[in-house]
Structure formats: C-alpha cells, structure tokens
C-alpha cells in the first residue's frame, strides 16, 4: 500500500468486496478496512449482511408470511409488528411530503407498499453498521442504490457512475459523492411506475437519479421523480442536501444546479 493510511497488517488494508444475493437483487460491498483488524471488519460485514436479510424477511411482499404482508392483510397491528416497520412507515410519510405526494406507499394497489424506500433504507442501515465498527470507508450498493462513507483513497471521493438507461455497460455521468445516490426507471424490470394520484402507469422520463445524505429518502425521491417527471425538479429547492438528475426519453438530461457531477 502506498496510501497515507496506517496499515499495520498489509492484507487487511486491501479492499474487501462481496456480493450478496438478497431482496430479489444483489447487494455489493466495497470495504476499505484501513487499520481496523480483519476480525472486526468481517464481524461487521456479517452484521451488515444480516441487516439486509432481516429487511427482506420483514418487508418482502413476495413472502406471504412477512410482517409487512401480514400487516397489509390486517392480520397484525402496527404496534405488534417488528419495530422497523413503524420506523420505515414514518420515513415513508416524510418522503411522501417531500415528493408532494408522488411517492405514496398508501396509494399503491393492494395496500401500503413501502418497497420504493425499503431497499435504500436497508442499504443505509448496512453501511451504518460498518461505520459504527470504525471502518474508515465503505460502499454498499443494493441493486443500483448506493450509500458510501469516507473516501476509498486519501483525498479521493467515491466515484459512482449513473447507468445509461439504454446500455447496461455504459454510464452517462460520474458522481463524486460522500453520501447516497439512488436511481429509478423502468428499463431494468419493465415494471410500471404508478401515478399515485390516478393509479395509472406513468413513465414521463427514462430515469431519475437522486443524491443526498440518506439513501432511504434518496431512493423514495427517485421513485417519485420517475413518476412525476420534470415537475419533480421543483421539489429540490426545499430539500436541503438533495439533488436530482433526470434523463429524458430522447436521452437529453436536466439536473438541479447542485447535482454533484464529477469530471
């Protein structure tokens, strides 16, 4: 290693990369252990992975016996459900307000559906576990929603590409970030984004990418903007620390002035 970071055990200072199959997608970890002993790093990684699987078990709507599924069917009350459920629904309320109602889990067919926030929230939790363990820099990428902490190398921020909606192997922008970045669009799964006001499919733009301090809110805002289209740009004047990049169906882009594009 040639970095300035103290590195008493050479092996420990190499990046640790892991890919975890969870929540119907893959979560990627890139951990820069610095001087943290390997045993501690791997313990934290195990806990971070467990957080993702726990979120899947609690919130999955594919699992008919998950607490979220049971709550939707009225089989359990919120006060009897795991505590994360209340926390996530509280954050959903905040995201609904921030998105002027365009992210609205309560307007989804079949009952309340926090899916648009849960994956980002879970990845942020996983990153927080690594940070609490003292890991100086890490990235968690849950299926395209990315949370980072620290710097991968001294003096260099994390550089995250934004996928080209039409080419899986291309990026259309590179973002320098110290927080979170989430993207929403219909190009991967072909699913319909719904206009919560009408219940009808709505995909006025190809993709929306939101940066900001928290990945749960960024994830929800990206979902909201992808359904609202360019009107969503106007929300961000009131959202401290959050920025958005929109890709139109013709490939052109619009973004808020503070969107952190790297060179």
């Amino acid at each position: 290693m040639t970095t300035a970071t103290e590195c008493p055990q050479a092996l420990a200072c190499e990046p640790i990369r892991r890919a975890e199959s969870v929540m119907g997608t893959v979560a990627s970890f890139d951990i820069r252990p610095g001087p943290v002993p390997p045993g501690l790093v791997y313990l934290a990684l195990a806990e971070a992975r467990a957080r993702l699987h726990r979120a899947d078990a609690v919130f999955s709507l594919w699992k008919t016996q998950s607490p979220m599924s049971r709550l939707r069917r009225g089989e359990i009350r919120l006060e009897d459900a795991p505590v994360e459920l209340s926390e996530v629904l509280r954050q959903c309320e905040a995201a609904r307000a921030a998105s002027h109602g365009w992210f609205d889990p309560w307007a989804m067919p079949g009952g309340v559906d926090p899916t648009g926030l849960v994956k980002g929230w879970a990845a942020q939790q996983a990153l927080d576990v690594l940070q609490l363990a003292g890991v100086p820099a890490a990235m968690v990428n849950a299926g395209g929603d990315v949370a980072v902490s620290g710097q991968p190398e001294p003096g260099r921020p994390w550089r995250i590409g934004v996928r080209d909606p039409w080419h899986a192997k291309r990026v259309i922008a590179v973002v320098s970030t110290s927080g979170a970045i989430a993207t929403s669009g219909t190009y991967e799964r072909g699913e319909h984004l719904l206009d919560p006001h009408t219940g009808r499919p709505s995909s006025p733009i190809a993709s929306a990418t939101v940066t900001g301090p928290d990945l749960g809110l960024a994830d929800a805002l990206a979902t909201g903007v992808a359904a609202a289209g360019e009107a969503g740009l106007d929300w961000f004047g009131d959202l401290d620390g959050y920025e958005v990049l929109i890709v139109r169906h013709d490939g052109s882009r619009r973004r808020t002035p503070g969107f952190p594009s790297a060179a």
Binding site: V146, R159, I160, K169, S207, G251
Partner: protein
Amino acid sequence: MTASGSKITDISIVKDGSDDGHSFQINSQAVPILQSESLSAQSAQIDGVSGATYTSAAYVQSLQSALDKLGIQ
C-alpha cells in the same frame, strides 16, 4: 478496450452528443475479458454504478458485477 496481463488498460470514451454528458462504454467484446480477468479500478475510474434495480440475473451482466470481480484475484 485492451487487456494487458490482468489489467484493462484502456476504456473507449464515447461522446454521446447530449448536453453535459460523456459516456464511456465497455464494449461487447470486452465482456469475456471482464468475466475472466480482474481489472484495475483506476482504469474504470468508477467505484460503483447506480441504476434502476436489477434482478439477480441482470446483475451478472452489469458493470457493478465487473467491479465486484476486482475482489476475486
């Protein structure tokens, strides 16, 4: 794209004509290289990729998957 030893040494830059954009592409011929060899993170100059949620199947073909393979050396 060219591969030298275990490192990819060049990635073609594709100007796509959009307003503020520069796009780089790891072209289709390079896919087998990414799948069979490790590549330098410095060459790609990105640490991760944000995009709409991919399925586990689509992950295999993703740029993020290529970056993750850096860890297997």
